[in-house]
């Protein structure tokens, strides 16, 4: 399931955005395995090895979470809160990658301990740039949290 022992969890309900994000990562030579889940509930199951990801109960967690805020079932802020309040997942870097420039979203995200907050720009070029910096920053420069 993992490649290079590194994986990225992308929580995004829009298939177009998933495709654009994956392409941006690929273009920036981020070759880590990306696991895509399309709602907040699935994201939590994946992170905590429950539900349909119960077989993943090997304690391994993704190296990075790219999290949209507006998600079906459980919204992104709730996923962030749960993730940052559990000992096992607290250290996973989480980057909020969202359309929302709403101040309360940004403030709330930082309050819950988000590591970075990126507003998806309309111009994909800027998006590429953002993703490129993300890839460099979190996957290349940072040590794995474990």
């Amino acid at each position: 399931m993992t490649i290079n022992g590194v994986e990225i969890l992308l929580v995004e309900d829009s298939p177009e955005d998933v495709e654009l994000t994956l392409r941006a990562l690929q273009k920036n030579q981020v070759t880590n395995h990306v696991q895509v889940v399309t709602d907040g509930a699935e994201a939590l199951e994946y992170l905590f090895g429950t539900g349909k990801y119960a077989h993943r109960a090997d304690g391994r967690v993704p190296k990075l979470v790219l999290l949209d805020l507006k998600l079906p079932k459980v919204d992104g802020l709730e996923v962030l809160r749960r993730c940052k309040s559990e000992e096992g997942t607290r250290k996973i870097p989480i980057v909020v990658l969202t359309s929302s420039k709403e101040e309360r979203d940004i403030v709330e995200s930082y309050r819950l301990g988000v590591n970075s907050y990126i507003v998806k720009p309309v111009d994909f070029q800027q998006f590429n740039e953002a993703v490129r910096q993300l890839g460099l920053y979190w996957l290349l420069l940072n040590e794995a949290p474990r």
């Binding site: 829009s14 177009e16 955005d17 654009l20 392409r23 805020l69 507006k70 969202t98 359309s99 929302s100 420039k101 709403e102 101040e103 998806k120 720009p121 309309v122 111009d123 994909f124 070029q125 998006f127």
Partner: protein, 732 residues
């Protein structure tokens, strides 16, 4: 010396009798004749005068006895001169009879003379005694008694009179005409009184006469007369009683009455009037004239009903009836003036009774309280008509006053509320706290305000049991009835409903913008993203026309993205809280200018900034203002060889604590007639291909400045540049 000498004692009588017997024996009369009946009678006649004389004075007795002796001598002589022819006895008897008759006559004459003499003596004695008595009476009289002759000359006066008149030497006044002793002003009266007494036997007058030493005295004088045998007055007796003390007291009383009368008449702030028992005006004062407009002569004798409204004329009897029943009657009411206008009178009516309890009339004291009444009435109307509920609560927590709004708000009728605990208007859970508030407020004299804003909602309890949100102000007030709390109540049900509606609308709007922020941008991003992918992956195989179409899609998506972003920005500045702090404008302008570097790249743009004062504003929002204004200035000077932007300030002539800041450029400017469109959202004065933009920038500026309480305006001339001005509060 009188009676004792006139009436002899028994021993004396006996002595006289014995002497008479001896004398008769000596003369032989008794022995000769005593045995005959005639002898007895003669003896009786002979002896009786002698006995009788013993009842008289010694002198009378002596005369009697002398007479008896003389008669004896006559009897003896008669014996010798008795007529011839008669027996000795007959002669003797005849002589005796003659002698006895002579003796009897003599004795009778003697006795008569003696009786008159005695009587004269007696009357003289009695007169002497009576004079002494009279003198004693006169001398012991407490009054001044003068004896005058019938011409009015003073003959004597008693010691008390000397004392009362403080006369040391009686001789100085005796013999003078009595009226000359009186002061000039009284002489006439005195003289007339004397004449009246002479004519009618008595006269009386009162007069003032100081004593010899000048002590002022008032006298009550009665003159009587002493008449002679001819019935004509011979003497006058005047009895003068010193009544100075009484007179003084009377004067004091009348003086004080006069003072009261004058005082009452002069009082202007109160009408003080007296009525007779039938309710007619008896006295009137200045205050009454002032209140009613009637002069004294117009109202004296007029009935009280004069001052009543014609419709209520009968009411006046009630006042008097109440007053006489209760002893005093106090009330307030409208009374009529002479000119038909009304005044609000406070009236105290008191019945006047004499010592027997008979009603003699009434006093009425009016006070004109019209001003107070008007104020009261206005105040009452203010309270009554107030759209807010007003009630007062006394120290015991009972409702003392409510207005119409309270009835409406709580659904109770006035009479259901008055004198009831105010608790009934509050839900049970709030009663304890409310009582505490009331108590604290009244004790401390502080005003408190209970609203639903700060913390727990404050609720009222409607009669129906429904609770409703209300605001309540509590103000302690001091009244004649003691400390009260004035409660103003506003039913905020409607306002709360409206507030909730606004909040709901705001929440909806927020949800909407949130949705816009997330969902509207996503498809735009998809378009732009995939258009780019198309170009990147297949650009080489697309003919130029296809490439142009793809680029148009990309531009459209970009523009859509910008519009959404600006619209969200605009929405955000409307909702964001304004956090005002001192802002260094020079620094802020510098920062923004630096941020605009990409926009002015490759151009010659000269910025002149005056030394700007600190202002009071939300820095984050103010930054948006400068960003928009300076970006506009840079944008609209794009076709100028030498672009000039000038920032300056001046004090705001409309508000001392504000300043006017302007940003002027030498750009394309605008036609002043379109200035009204300048600050509206999405309104643009230039075509998109001339100058890019969404038409939101100045709308954002307008909104931010307005939210800071400032004004913003623009002046421009087509082709000559524009000046945007706004006001900000200066920081102290």
């Amino acid at each position: 010396m009188t009676d004792a000498s006139v009436i002899p004692d028994k021993a004396q009588v006996h002595r006289h009798l014995a002497m008479a017997v001896i004398m008769a024996g000596l003369l032989g009369i008794f022995t000769l004749d005593s045995v005959t009946p005639l002898g007895y009678s003669v003896w009786f006649l002979y002896v009786f005068p002698v006995w009788y004389s013993t009842r008289l004075s010694p002198r009378s007795a002596a005369i009697t006895l002398a007479a008896a002796a003389a008669s004896s001598a006559l009897i003896v002589a008669g014996y010798f001169v008795s007529p011839p022819g008669g027996s000795i006895l007959e002669t003797a008897a005849y002589n005796r009879l003659m002698g006895a008759m002579v003796l009897w006559v003599l004795t009778a004459v003697l006795l008569k003379s003696r009786t008159i003499e005695e009587r004269v003596r007696w009357s003289q004695e009695a007169l002497k005694e009576s004079e002494a008595f009279n003198r004693a009476v006169v001398e012991s009289s407490p009054d001044c008694m003068n004896i005058l002759d019938r011409e009015g000359r003073l003959l004597s006066l008693n010691p008390q009179g000397l004392c009362l008149m403080e006369i040391e030497n009686a001789a100085s006044v005796l013999g003078r005409y009595w009226w000359d002793l009186w002061p000039e002003s009284s002489k006439g009266t005195v003289q007339a009184a004397v004449q009246e007494a002479v004519a009618n036997g008595t006269a009386r007058f009162q007069g003032f006469c100081p004593t010899a030493k000048g002590t002022p005295k008032w006298w009550d004088v009665i003159i009587g007369t002493v008449r002679g045998l001819d019935g004509q007055p011979t003497r006058l007796v005047s009895t003068s009683r010193d009544m100075t003390v009484i007179k003084r007291a009377e004067e004091a009383v009348s003086e004080s009455e006069e003072r009261h009368r004058v005082m009452v008449e002069q009082v202007r702030d109160y009408a003080i009037i007296m009525l007779d028992p039938d309710g007619r005006v008896a006295t009137w004062n200045a205050g009454a004239q002032r209140f009613t407009g009637y002069a004294q002569e117009e109202v004296i004798g007029k009935p009280l009903s004069l001052f009543f409204d014609p419709q209520a004329r009968d009411a006046w009897t009630v006042e008097l009836e109440q007053a006489s029943a209760r002893g005093m009657y106090e009330q307030e009411g409208w009374r009529m003036r002479k000119d038909g206008s009304r005044f609000w009178a406070h009236i105290v009516t008191t019945p006047l009774r004499d010592e027997t309890g008979t009603l003699r009339g009434f006093t009425k004291v009016w006070r004109d309280n019209t001003q107070r009444k008007l104020i009261e009435t206005q105040f009452q109307q203010l309270v009554e008509q107030s759209p807010n509920g007003i009630l007062t609560v006394d120290a015991r927590g009972r409702i003392a006053l409510v207005n119409r709004a309270i009835e409406r708000i709580f659904g109770y009728k006035r009479e259901e509320l008055l004198n009831r605990p105010v608790d009934m208007l509050l839900p049970e859970r709030l009663r304890e706290e409310a009582a505490l508030q009331l108590h604290r407020g009244q004790a401390a004299g502080e005003t408190s305000f209970k609203t639903m804003d700060n913390g727990a909602a404050f609720s009222g309890l409607h009669k129906s049991g429904r609770e409703f949100p209300m605001e309540m102000g509590l103000t302690p007030i001091e009244t004649l009835q003691g400390m009260m709390t004035l409660c103003t109540v506003v039913d905020v049900t409607e306002r709360k409903r409206a507030e909730e509606a606004i909040l709901a609308a705001n929440r909806e709007l927020e949800a909407f913008t949130y949705t816009v922020s997330h969902d509207l941008r996503a498809p735009v991003r998809t378009m732009a993203g995939f258009a780019r992918i198309l170009m990147e992956d297949f650009g080489a195989t697309l003919d130029p026309e296809a490439q142009r179409h793809v680029r148009t899609i990309q531009k459209g998506a970009q523009r859509m993205g910008d519009l959404i972003d600006d619209l969200l920005e605009f929405s955000r500045v409307g909702r964001a809280a304004v956090d005002c702090r001192p802002v260094d404008l020079n620094k802020l302008v510098g920062e923004v200018w630096t941020d605009l570097k990409p926009q002015r790249e490759g151009r010659a743009v000269e910025l002149t900034v005056a030394d700007l004062p600190q202002c009071l504003a939300d820095r984050r929002l103010l930054r948006l203002v400068w960003m928009n204004l300076l970006a506009n200035a840079v944008k609209y000077t794009a076709n100028r060889e030498q672009a000039r932007i000038e920032v300056g300030w001046r004090p705001d002539e409309e508000a001392a604590d504000r300043m006017v800041i302007h940003v002027a450029d030498n750009g394309v400017g605008f036609d002043q007639k379109y200035v009204s469109k300048l600050f509206s959202v999405f309104q643009r004065l230039h075509r998109a291909d001339e100058f890019e933009g969404t038409g939101v920038g100045l709308a954002i500026v307008h909104r931010i400045i307005t939210r800071h309480g400032g004004r913003v305006w623009a002046e421009g001339r087509l082709g000559e540049g524009a000046t945007l001005s706004f006001t900000l509060e200066k920081a102290l």
